[in-house]
Amino acid sequence: MISIKNLHAEVEGKPILRGVDLEIPDGEVHAIMGPNGSGKSTLASILAGREEYEVTQGSVTYKGQELLEMDPDERACEGVFLGFQYPVEIPGVSNLYLLRAALNARRKYHGEPEIDAVDFMQMAQEKIDHVGMSMEMAKRGVNEDFSGGEKKRNEIFQMLMLEPNLAILDETDSGLDIDALKVVSDGINRLRSPERSVVLVTHYKRLLEHCVPDRIHVLYQGQIVRSGGPELADTLEAEGYANLETDEAAATS
């Protein structure tokens, strides 16, 4: 699905990613963990096409295409979805309106006709039920006056509506109560299929217990310093990130 090779990136001259290598095959769920400030959101933003980060080295291929050469909206239409760590509010624009525009943008990109209004509403109702939102909330302004947890739920709702090939969820599990966590993990599991891949950026093992990943990677100071199976989450939970510096030394040598 996606192959990241020796990715270096900086913001305002400050290096943040320092040679990230990551391979995510079709149909797999990978988790990225790592301490605050290690570059997880930066990596996610770069994959989605945020311009303020400057890629200085490396390459990313997505479904066989050079991802870094595509515009953000093109990437989205090709099936890249980013669940934001901090979803922004867009006052006055209803969620459903945005989603319909987004779906139609995809359809236009693929040369398909616009979605029928009735079909759209049916689909929306179905997904709203999946994530336990109300229609009233779905019609409200995008994230307008949503609580932190509601915003995350809304990201999952959008993901289910847009059915991406590659979903990158940046701490979508943070700040959730137990029920919401279940909604989020159910949503992710629902999406799992041989033609879709998921990247979960998370700090918590509990999400990974609900959605068991194929691989877990640890990002530390802008590099993947350790990778392993789901059991790595237990090791990290027990030991913290304290031993990583030795790993980093091992990784760079």
Binding site: A48, G49, R50, E52, D71, P72, D73, R75, A76, C77, F81, L82, F84, P87, V88, I90, P91, G92, V93, Y97, L98, L99, A101, A102, L103, A105, R106, Y109, G141, V142, Q158, L162
Partner: protein, 495 residues
């Protein structure tokens, strides 16, 4: 700026007129210049009674003593009022384009994007023989072409309800008592420079009269259009809503592509008696000029509503996207106790457009209430100022006002300025004011792009969201039109 001046000079020079006043009785356009004879000419062309002519002449005398306001946040070359022609009838059929094929394709493209039906496109472009549809719509139209109303429809249905909806010239002839009673009572002749000029030389406009207890059976609509070259447009509109009546009036302009600066100085007067309600909605799209500001229309408008009766209500809703220069402050004078004034506005400036707009809410009666929601959008080198005055007189016990003005900037060469003035002479007044200025956030843009929207769609989505509180006040059909207009207006605003 100097370029404007030159153009005006040149265009005026090209008009082959003799210095001084010449009335060519064969022609229906009067030569540029303004004096009492021109006013007499206009008045006689319109077969007006003596009192009307006297009223105009008095306005002219007052106007000569007045000066152009200097305070707006606008820059434009001095206007030579002797170089403007003050009367022109519609072009004769021979001058009109024979079909849409002869109309500027760029203009048609705009109509297309706005989704204006073909029949209406022909109308707006002034194609020979084109007429408004006479049935199948629930909007009554009074088209003001240049200076003379040429098409009025729906009269019968309205007449059944006792509603009068006609051109002001016709009203002066047919309903002189009504006009005499109300004309100039809301905007007096000496009110301001442009109102004074309008009072002297107004050529046409609309008149609406809703009798006691009548709910007007349909939305009333006027399409304004400027047609003849270099002719100042001076519309005069008067709407009178008697006790317990209700009317919604739509004013829409779709401007043709033009080449020279044009002065437009309209006056709109609204009178609401006890329990009456007037809703006045405007979607204004005068030609703004090219990206250097050349050729746009100068729009200096005085709009005022008098909530004369108790519990009366007047709402102004406007979407302003056009004109090179806009100077406009629809206002409410809340005379009646418990009367309500509302102002909802979206103003867009882009290119070199300048707008100085806002509202005045004058609280005179007890328990009067006003709401102001002004949304300003500036893109490219657009400049705009919001100027609002809320005045609470000593008599206005328990007056309330809520004001919210928000500015949205697209790009960093544009500007927005807010000048809220509050004068309260009664300590029981409750006033709330909120103001924000924001740039279209990078985060908002990226969020939309990440969901797959193009940059243009993302801007239009965010902008429409920003304007929602105003759009929802517009009648349904108009709201859709306004939204489309905004999208077309802001095309290429980013990137």
């Amino acid at each position: 700026m100097a370029a404007h001046e030159q153009d005006v000079e040149q265009l005026v020079a090209e008009r082959e007129y003799e210095a001084g006043f010449v009335t060519d009785l064969e022609s229906d356009t009067v030569a540029p210049g303004l004096d009492e004879d021109v006013i007499r000419f206009i008045s006689s062309k319109k077969e007006e009674p003596q009192w009307m002519l006297d009223w105009r002449l008095e306005a002219f005398r007052q106007w000569k003593q007045m000066k152009m306001p200097k305070w707006p946040h606008l820059h434009y070359p001095p206007i030579d009022f002797q170089k403007i022609s003050y009367y022109s009838a519609p072009k004769s059929a021979a001058d009109k384009p024979k079909s849409l094929d002869e109309v500027d394709p760029k203009l048609l493209e705009t109509y297309e994007k706005l989704g204006i039906p073909l029949r209406e496109q022909e109308m707006l472009a002034g194609v020979e023989g084109a007429q408004y549809p006479t049935s199948g719509s629930n909007v009554a139209v009074d088209a003001v072409f240049d200076s003379v109303s040429v098409a009025t429809t729906f009269k019968d249905k309205l007449a059944d309800a006792g509603v009068i909806f006609c051109s002001i010239s016709e009203a002066i002839r047919e309903y002189p008592e009504l006009v005499k009673k109300h004309l100039g009572t809301v905007v007096p002749r000496g009110d301001n420079f442009f109102a004074g000029l309008n009072s002297a030389v107004f050529t046409d406009g609309s008149f609406v009269y809703i009798p006691k207890g009548v709910r007007c059976p349909m939305e009333l609509s006027t399409y304004f259009r400027i047609n003849a070259e270099n002719t100042g447009q001076f519309e005069r509109t008067l709407i009178v809503a008697e006790e317990g009546s209700h009317v919604s009036y739509l004013e829409g302009c779709t401007a043709p592509q033009r080449d020279e600066n044009q002065l437009h100085a309209a006056v709109v007067e609204l009178v609401a008696e006890d329990d009456a309600e007037i809703k006045y909605s405007t979607v204004q799209n005068w030609y703004p000029g090219d990206e250097n500001g050349k050729g746009g229309i100068y729009n200096f408008v005085t709009k005022r509503g008098d909530c004369r009766g108790d519990r009366s209500k007047i709402s102004w809703t406007q979407v302003e996207t056009g004109s090179a220069i806009t100077w406009k402050y629809p206002s409410c004078v809340l005379n009646g106790d418990n009367s309500v004034g509302e102002f909802y506005s979206v103003a867009v400036t882009r290119g070199m457009q300048q707008a100085d707009t806002g509202t005045k809410m004058i609280h005179v009666g007890k328990n009067t209430k006003s709401t102001i929601i002004a949304k300003g959008i500036s893109a490219a080198r657009g400049e705009q100022a919001y100027r609002g005055l809320v005045k609470i007189l000593p008599s206005a016990t328990n007056a309330r006002n809520f004001t919210q003005c928000d500015s949205l900037l697209i790009g960093d060469k544009c500007g927005a300025h807010t000048f809220p003035y509050v004068e309260s002479k009664n300590s029981t007044a409750k006033l709330e004011h909120e103001a924000t200025t924001s740039k279209i956030g990078e985060d908002q843009m990226f969020y939309c792009l990440q969901r797959g929207l193009s940059e243009e769609d993302a801007v239009s989505l965010i902008v429409n969201g920003f304007c929602k509180d105003v759009f929802k006040e517009l009648p349904m059909e108009f709201a859709v039109e306004a939204q489309k207009l905004l999208n077309v207006t802001l095309e290429n605003a980013v990137g």
